[in-house]
């Protein structure tokens, strides 16, 4: 047998084994029970409109708040970590290590219960609001490192050119370094956004009411109440409905920016 013929044969055999395995898994599943337990059309219909107007809305709202807050604090922490002033650097390092090192669930829990006791304040949104601040802290710790790397990736000549034109260090950062640094951070920031979207499901630990349920909590409660997983499947599809178009969109954006450079 010729070498190319043998190679083609091996490829076909591997492909056949793969297809057979997939078909076996599909066929061996109990589709009748699956449909009854996870694809119940009547129960699915019952979830509207709350699964959109409350659950999805809260998921998106929590994500946007955590992302925006994380971005602002993240830039601040990145700048502090790159500062020439020691105490700023030490604070930023401690902050990042702390909130990156703790499980998000624990941080949210801590913020929800420690903040109100420590400062005697009631945040807008109550315990959920405080818990969200925990998610902001987690997000900012990750973003700070991404932004720091982005800033450091901007060539030194850019800073020199800006300073030579008379720009102060602050103006140089604002107009020359940060805009270029942000471009570099778009892929990891997209990643961070998707991670945050999923981590909003942890906010339930702060205690959720009917109006503050996000997708996962909403679906889990529905699954428990009805002893049926249909809502979980719906929630899963809604997550993907947000994340997949988003990542596609960012990919297109990136290609466009690569061309502009």
């Amino acid at each position: 047998m010729r070498r190319s013929t043998r190679q083609r044969l091996v490829r076909w055999v591997m492909y056949a084994i793969f297809v057979i395995a997939v078909v076996l898994v599909i066929v061996s599943a109990d589709w009748a029970r699956l449909q009854q337990q996870f694809f119940d059309p009547a129960l699915a219909a019952e979830q509207f409109p709350e699964i959109i107007t409350i659950a999805l809305k809260n998921t998106l709202l929590f994500t946007v708040i955590a992302f925006a807050g994380g971005l602002v604090l993240g830039v601040l922490m990145a700048l502090m970590k790159l500062s020439s002033i020691g105490p700023y650097r030490w604070f930023a390092t401690a902050y990042i290590e702390l909130f990156r090192g703790l499980p998000a669930l624990l941080t949210i829990f801590a913020f929800a219960f420690i903040l109100p006791i420590a400062f005697g304040v009631r945040l807008p949104g109550g315990a959920v609001g405080a818990g969200l601040l925990g998610l902001v802290a987690v997000a900012s710790a990750y973003m700070a490192e991404v932004i720091r790397a982005g800033i450091q990736a901007v060539p030194k000549g850019q800073t020199e050119a800006a300073r030579t034109l008379g720009m102060s260090p602050a103006k140089t950062m604002l107009w020359v370094v940060l805009p270029q640094g942000f471009r570099i951070t778009i892929p990891p920031m997209t990643n961070e956004f998707v991670l945050l979207l999923k981590d909003t499901s942890l906010v339930y630990i702060a205690g959720s009411t009917v109006m503050t349920k996000e997708l996962t909590t909403f679906a889990r409660d529905s699954a428990t109440t009805n002893a049926n997983g249909t809502t979980l499947v719906m929630a899963a599809m809604l997550y993907l409905l947000v994340t997949v178009p988003l990542t596609r969109l960012v990919a297109v954006l990136e290609r466009k920016m690569a061309r502009a450079r």
Partner: protein, 258 residues
């Protein structure tokens, strides 16, 4: 903008004041001393070319003039003002000293026009319309009046370097520093950049040029400095130094590059 004009007028030095005066300048990177006591006076309107082997300290000397490198000792006077005095606003001094880099260092995220207007607006406080007018004027001057809307990456190296020169000129500097402005260019693009520099020199700009272009030094330079080992080994009228180098090290260097 009359206030801008009056403050600039106040900055203008007396006619006899040297543009750049350097006294016993020292610079060390760690244990390595790269400048070992440089004394140099550059008159207003003078074009001084600095040549020397790599590692001779010529770039460090140039970068010290606008404090991109912080000297470890000595004095630097720009138009009579000691810029190492901690009370001096270095950002303000730098607007009077244009600088052109080997790698151009244009801002890649901005159009050519924006490259030229950003510092005018954010540093000099000029209005957008005025900044654009100045920018267009300078782009015309370097022969790139049509390319204002392009991004730097769409330009050739020679064009990018001309834009970089125009960007510096937009600040109305009293003097220009050039750090090997043609070393990163393909040979066929060197001429257009040297031409722009020659035009500048003719118009009376004070220039300090670190270069390997001996032809340019001979044609355009008023004075040639040869540096080696952190000191100025020899200086004089370019044609003389190039034709009859007195010092052994100058002879050795020139025999390799000419």
């Amino acid at each position: 903008m009359s206030s801008d004009l009056t403050t600039r007028a106040a900055d203008t030095p007396a006619p006899g004041t040297p543009a750049i005066e350097i006294r016993d300048l020292h610079k060390s990177f760690g244990d390595v001393e790269v400048l070992k006591g440089i004394d140099l006076v550059i008159r207003q309107g003078e074009v001084v070319c600095v040549v020397g082997p790599s590692g001779s300290g010529k770039s460090t000397l140039l970068r010290s003039v606008n404090l991109l490198e912080e000297p470890t000792g000595g004095q630097i006077l720009i138009e009579g003002v000691d810029i190492l005095d901690p009370d001096v606003d270095i950002d303000r001094v730098r607007t009077r000293i244009g600088m052109v880099f080997q790698q151009f260092n244009l801002f890649p995220h901005m159009t050519v026009l924006r490259n030229l207007t950003i510092a005018q607006e954010k540093v000099l406080g000029r209005r957008t319309t005025e900044a654009r007018k100045v920018a267009q004027e300078m782009l015309d001057r370097v022969g790139l009046g049509e390319r204002g809307s392009a991004y730097p990456s769409h330009l050739s190296g020679g064009q990018q370097q001309r834009v970089a020169i125009a960007r510096s000129l937009c600040m109305n500097p009293d003097m220009m520093l050039f750090d090997e402005p043609t070393s990163a260019l393909d040979p066929e693009l060197v001429g257009e950049v040297l031409q722009v520099m020659q035009d500048l020199a003719k118009e009376g700009m004070t220039m300090m040029v670190v270069t390997h272009e001996m032809g340019f030094a001979r044609e355009v330079g008023d004075r040639l400095l040869f540096m080696d080992g952190g000191v100025i080994v020899e200086e004089g009228v370019p044609a003389d130094v190039l034709a009859r180098p007195r010092h052994e090290r100058t002879q050795a260097f020139l025999s390799k590059v000419l």
